[in-house]
Symmetry: C2
Subunit: 360 residues, 2 copies
């Protein structure tokens, strides 16, 4: 069995050490004679595990005590509905900043529940830039301002938290949470689907400031009512125990790596190496404004799109998989989440140079 | 490593063969050098797996072509909201039959979205019986009639599909689906959380008659809009790929066991053995009307509740775990889902006889 370097945008690579540990204890968790997925979420063992995992996550992100951390189902996409249902009265106008297709999807879902004001968007640059926060047209008294700190398809990332509105800031951090430290106190709500930096698909983490609890509309399903779930330690209904378990192992692994400051250094270096290789070449190109380039998702095109197929076939044969770009952007995309070792980026850069030499 | 007989009501025991197979391929699925939880749900490998798993499930249940099968998140509890959102206009009165606490929870969530008529309920017998369908007070023209074929806490099960209303029948089959054949054509919607007979928590299966698609209210989140998900093969958003994978392995295992007719025989025999042991004893008792006794969940009390603790400790030491009853009912509860081997029931019956002899 040879593991590959998997550049999938998500569901994405997980740390090999996490998978090995899960494999070893898959039929017998904590000497119970049961798999972790076979135990009741209301049993002592799982409750202790859940509490410990939350504590570890809080430590990693330095989550203030005035925030609740929830482990829910439905992915970020269900949060696109949950955010307005939990935070916005029916007649309210809510603010969204759109820097890619995930932001567009968030707007589309929010429109079911509220008037949406797009305070800024960057479609004019084909989502290769971030609109200057000074130009954002925010709504006075909006229940929240929503944005997407990292857009996976276009590879655009906010490297600072914008400060433009008095409204609570809500962020879909699906593809960036845990990749670097973040000042949680700047946000009203942070949510993140697990399948990039956290664990398997089927889990979404929500970090919500306590003063925002209790505003949910009557028609909010109980499973996504922040107050209901916060009051029940995310166990108002059966949580996705298996995905939660993997997330807990990933949190432990991050602590072993030195925490998020250490991850940020490695992630910045990984991204810098790949962008440097792209920029040094006339054969490869990345269209994103340099200040907005993502650490997590690096789209790049080949000078001759006719070579895309050969690039994908040969890279796969070299153990570098899932490099195909999103159909909207074309070309290639390398996703460099936490679990991608620096050696994987080195191997990709070396392959790209070799491919260019042979075929460019 | 010694595996135990795990009588947990859910998340519950899974077949050992399924866990062993998953363990073997956890780091390298189909020779890809990736775990199944690391591959994109939009890649060929997962799409093929998903289609095959649906086909196997359709074969097991003989699902008519006029039904869609969905693999979603949020558990049965989110379906408590999804059902009225998908099927009932805002001013409608919907019918519910309540034979236990899951039915009560379904009603409570439905009240967010519709007028609920409880057509029948059995709280007067402390949920130890099923009201005669002839006495149900159904609403003329109701968008649907909802019931819970098996109630896990009280151990009450419908052994026939009721036929009392022209409205589409909607069933929460979380704790009975796949335990025996069922005539899907009798239902408008069947849904089931995975964590009893299907796989790990974090997946819910919805089987919906096609003519019921397209009635969802505007405020239905896209992730639980039946038509939206049916039109996208349950991949409108990222599905819970890891739980789905386990479900697929369980479906294959069920085919190997001979399908649902074979499972029904074993399940009927397992339940009969345990009820016979309870009924033959003055020390153990089950309060449920005989015609309504569940095959899946068997609550029983000890003549002296002071002995509950000893029973639980000693049974656990004997490798029979999670027998504690629900706090509402007290005493013990043995859940006998598909993955519980007949040998587990034999061991439990033998332990009960021995315990009674020593302590009764």
């Amino acid at each position: 069995m040879k593991r590959v370097f998997n550049f999938s945008p998500g569901p994405a690579m997980l740390p090999g050490a996490v998978l090995q540990r899960a494999q070893a204890e898959l039929l017998d968790w904590q000497g119970s004679g049961m798999s972790v997925m076979e135990v009741s979420h209301r049993g002592t063992a799982f409750i202790e595990f859940a509490a410990r995992s939350e504590k570890t996550l809080r430590g990693l992100l330095a989550v203030p005590d005035s925030y609740k951390v929830l482990f829910l189902q439905g992915g970020a996409t269900l949060q696109f509905a949950a955010v307005p249902l939990n935070l916005a009265p029916a007649a309210a106008t809510v603010d969204y900043v759109v820097t890619g297709n995930w932001g567009e999807k968030a707007v589309s879902e929010a429109k079911r529940y509220a008037n949406v004001n797009v305070a800024a968007e960057s479609s004019a640059t084909k989502f290769t830039s971030i609109p200057d926060p000074k130009t954002w047209k925010v709504t006075k008294g909006a229940p929240y301002l929503h944005y997407t700190p990292n857009e996976t398809v276009f590879g655009v990332e906010f490297h600072d938290v914008p400060s433009v509105s008095d409204a609570p800031l809500v962020a879909d951090m699906s593809s960036t949470l845990l990749s670097r430290p973040v000042d949680v106190s700047r946000f009203g709500v942070i949510y993140a689907g697990a399948q990039k930096n956290i664990g398997p698909a089927g889990l979404v983490i929500v970090i919500v400031r306590e003063d925002l609890l209790g505003r949910a509309r009557k028609e909010t399903p109980g499973t996504i009512d922040y107050k209901t779930q916060a009051g029940n330690d995310s166990m108002w209904n059966t949580p996705p125990t298996l995905s939660w378990y993997f997330a807990g192992l990933v949190f432990d692994w991050l602590v072993e790596q030195g925490g998020l400051a250490a991850m940020a250094k490695v992630n910045a270096r990984k991204a810098a190496k790949l962008y440097a290789a792209i920029d040094a070449s006339d054969f490869y190109a990345n269209p994103v404004e340099k200040s907005a380039r993502s650490w997590m998702n690096v789209p790049f095109t080949l000078a001759d799109p006719e070579l895309d197929k050969a690039f994908l076939q040969e890279s796969k044969a070299a153990g570098l998989t899932n490099l195909k770009g999103h159909r909207v952007v074309g070309g290639m995309r390398a996703s460099l989440y936490n679990a991608m070792p620096e050696a994987g980026v080195d191997a990709l850069v070396a392959f790209m140079a070799d491919f260019e030499k042979r075929r460019g």
